[in-house]
Amino acid sequence: MSENNSYLLIENRLVNHLQPVQPNPDFIKNLGKRLLGSRSIYIEDRNNGFAFMLLSLGLFIGALIVWFFRKNG
């Protein structure tokens, strides 16, 4: 058998046996729902400016308390 013929035979077998499959319709439907619903879940970004202000305020009050006790102690 020539090489071309053997390639043709393999190609025919591949055509016959590698056919598209149908995924479960429920899976397709549910995944679509999950995907398109996921953007409506809003993940709140951390507000760095607010955190910095809070930290500064805490440090300032802390320093003020230390200064107050030292002054009176």
Binding site: E11, R13, L18, N24, F27, L31, L35, L36, S38
Partner: protein, 201 residues
């Protein structure tokens, strides 16, 4: 070409937060991506799991797509290919064996004997295919399951059309050798099995 134009419009809308546009893209490609992953992994559960991951990743990174200069489908197939590669790597670490090596539903026929014969042959073919290196499996699946041209496959696999053609011939050659090995095992081995059988009797 119309699909391509449509894709671009839908991607732009999806990147601007239009969920419905992404929904159209999802409906257009989910079955193709599922098929690709199904034939690479050989089982329904992993195919569903990985298909979900592909679309979650595409959904999260849709804004980055436009800069890549490849069709949207090619981008999805590349994501799928990478996820399948990771899946194989993790699987080889865990040494797991797929339990549900099911055959596609389209292999079921009305004539039981023909169906059995055909499904056994299909199983052999798929097993032979999985013995090939990942790149060659990808090429065969894209060509025969997805019905793509060499040029389209080239875009996905980042190779020229000529390189795909040449890889295709080498792949057919390896498949032919594997099938021959499977269907006509070396005579020595067959004789040994027969001798063992005679001994037992």
């Amino acid at each position: 070409m119309t699909d391509q134009v449509d894709d671009i419009q839908l991607i732009e809308k999806a990147a601007n937060g239009d969920n419905e546009a992404f929904g159209f893209l999802y409906e257009r490609y989910v079955r193709k991506i599922y098929n690709y992953i199904y034939y690479r992994t050989g089982n329904v559960n992993d195919a569903e799991d990985l298909t979900a991951k592909v679309f979650h990743r595409a959904f999260r990174h849709i804004e980055t797509y436009s800069q890549r200069g490849v069709p949207f489908s090619a981008w999805l197939y590349r994501i799928a290919h990478n996820l399948v590669a990771n899946w194989y790597r993790d699987r080889s670490r865990k040494k797991e064996v797929a339990l549900d090596d099911q055959l596609p539903s389209s292999f079921h026929f009305d004539f039981p004997e023909f169906a059995l014969e055909k499904s056994q042959e299909s199983e052999r073919m798929i097993k032979t295919l999985r013995k090939l290196p990942p790149e060659r499996q990808q090429l065969i699946i894209l060509k025969f399951v997805e019905g793509m041209s060499n040029a389209e496959i080239g875009l996905i696999m980042r190779k020229s059309e000529g390189a795909i053609k040449s890889l295709y011939h080498r792949t057919l050659d390896s498949l032919r050798k594997e099938i021959e090995k499977l269907e006509h095992p070396p005579k020595g081995k067959g004789r040994k099995i027969k001798e063992d059988k005679d001994k037992n009797e």
